[in-house]
Symmetry: C4
């Protein structure tokens, strides 16, 4: 029943688990809000205990049901399922402040959402088709990020020593600029820096954006191959 999504009960169970995962994510987010009243905190704690209990039962049931137990436990989803509940049990014996960093692990629960989708395979094949270009473009993009950081450092450091402190600070500018996010916390003000940005952007937009097009065309290629296989 746990594994079979085709039966009515299995579908219902999967749907229920999904809702609980979403609920736990919401309760986790609400917890970070500042200025919560004590009653809300209480409610969140109860929800947390209930959900961890539920996920633990689900995890144990899955081990019990599955034939190849060790294979499940060390599979991707087995580890995710364990990590979804383990931090709760571990954190109880620890100092309250250090709990916070462990709670980050609780987020792996989201990855459970991945389990029920079939379209991932097609995406996987598309990545294999476009692998070489992806790696090449990633390398070129990294090099461009670094080179543009060095360039802007030399142009802007003298005029804005507080903003473009070092190449590491310039890298942050490179990232925000080449991805076209453009927060506006760092920007060149010298004529040289602005002309440099012009050339970097002309080259950089292509380099950063091409992989996107590659994945899209690889995906449609994977779709074509699939429909050809279906025809055979």
């Amino acid at each position: 029943m746990l594994e079979d999504v085709d039966t009515r009960l299995g579908r219902r169970f999967a749907f229920f688990t999904q809702s609980m995962i979403v609920l736990s994510l919401i309760s986790f987010s609400v917890e970070t809000l500042p200025g919560l009243s004590e009653s809300v905190r209480q409610l969140l704690r109860v929800t947390e205990v209930f959900l961890v209990g539920l996920f633990t039962v689900e995890y144990l049931l899955r081990i019990w049901v599955v034939d190849k137990k060790f294979r499940y436990i060390f599979s991707f989803f087995g580890v995710i399922d364990l990590l979804a509940v383990l931090p709760f049990y571990l954190s109880t014996g620890l100092d309250l402040r250090s709990i916070r960093i462990f709670r980050l692990l609780r987020l792996f629960r989201i990855l459970k959402l991945l389990r029920y989708s079939k379209a991932i395979n097609r995406f996987h094949r598309a990545l294999i088709i476009a692998k070489e270009e992806m790696i090449l473009f990633s390398c070129v993009a990294m090099m461009l990020l670094y080179l543009s950081a060095v360039g802007i450092y030399y142009f802007e450091n003298a005029v804005q020593p507080e903003q473009f402190k070092s190449i590491f600070h310039s890298l942050w500018w490179s990232l925000a600029t080449l991805t076209t996010v453009g927060y506006g916390d760092l920007y060149p003000i010298t004529a040289g820096g602005q002309v440099f940005t012009f050339f970097i952007l002309i080259i950089g937009l292509g380099v950063i954006a091409v992989p996107t097009g590659l994945v899209a065309s690889a995906l449609s290629q994977a779709r074509d191959e699939e429909s050809i296989n279906n025809l055979k």
Copy 2:
């Protein structure tokens, strides 16, 4: 005549209705300008009454003309046509302040513009072709948005507690960053947060931008299928 866009009179009527819809949108927008003189307000009110009258007549004519009356009334455009005039009649009997929120409904008039386009069918087929990937990418994008919000919250909350107050506030940052809008109201200042942003953007740009390429390639596929069908 109302339905037949192929006759000369029908085309003229459709063109006239379209102009009136645009006029009503402009007059609605002008109404929101602060500091309007009383004479302008008067003019806007007269325009509004005139347009609502016109749209009402058009709506009643359409019901009168159409054979299957109930089917029209409960069709998408029938409901839109009704919603384009109904708020005006309902709002007269209500308190003046609550009118404002009802006026928002008047905007559905724009959707009437959809009526006259044929190319929508092709777009509809393209969406069906790329449906699975769209859903998958949307889910992955949602997960990425959430994960990046949690990550940046842990990196930045300690240093900028006023900006990154909670995961909900961080989600706003995630949205502005992953869509590359980058308003600049929120941005990481810690080295950890900036390195995290780097990885999130490298992954995120692909995930958010790929669906665009998918729709484009699906649309050209739909165009191909259409021209093949035309050849037969």
Copy 3:
């Protein structure tokens, strides 16, 4: 010689004209710099007179050379060539301040650069291939821009009356957001406005960005057709 770019002299002449056009654009831009010395202004004025003289001679030569004179004069490039020099002669008899706005026309000179490119035809065919989708997406994009402006106006006007003054001011926000420019002069601060922005961006990114992919795929289709025609 003027029309024939295949002879050596013709190529040289075309290259010389292009350089002069670029020179005139640079001198026009330099003129706008504040705080120029009198000698620089003098130099710019001399350059301007020289260039206008040159372009006038070129224009008259072209009329003299061409067989179908009227056809050239009223062709796209004939009008551009005339507009490149006419403002200079007209402005001399006018008040100095109004000259500035006429000088804007001088920029049409750049369009002369279009003359010498052949790849435009392919782009033209691509636009015809993708015409219907382009129009549909443009309409949907316009509607989305307007709807998002109205939405954000209702969410933000009460809290930020100075920023989101009217629907027209909100339209500026819509434009900066949906194109992902994100200047950061206007952004929603209410939770409602931010959730609204989320949905608008999810829909809007596709709508605004798809036409780009359409043109690209139409261009490669036009390239395919061309190579098939070459094979025949």
Copy 4:
């Protein structure tokens, strides 16, 4: 051994060289950090001397090993290899302040990373396929950048003379806007300037973004040709 990446020793050597290049880049970046202690500076200087020595030995070995020595020295990678070490020897005899600008050349070391990738050939072919359109779109993009700078200058100069000082300053705005970076240091505030920005963005997004799609489709075409050649 130096040239043969297929042997075990060759692979190890290549891997070692790559690591050293990355190390030198990191040490170069760390050097720009303000407020380094003397001991760290000492360490960086030692690392630098060691790496330059290593790269020099590698360069001389390569000359010694290769058959056609002059061809290597004047090849792309020969020059890069030389430039990776030369500035160090030259800078020792120079004034300390001028060293900084020479150190920029040290960055060419990164380009050595290019040597080991094969996928570049495919990208090269894709560029040839899409060359004409790329040039056309680049020209149109340049024209659009200039025209939008002139337009915004006329709209905004009167109201924001400090921001939109000249056409050159406006060009910086054009760049940040048409690439959708949108730093937010410059933005139009007049209604005319904002409407102008609207039209510029509608046209500009297509013009700037299309080349990206072109490269992607040309790359998939190059991939197709490759697989057809492999089948023969």
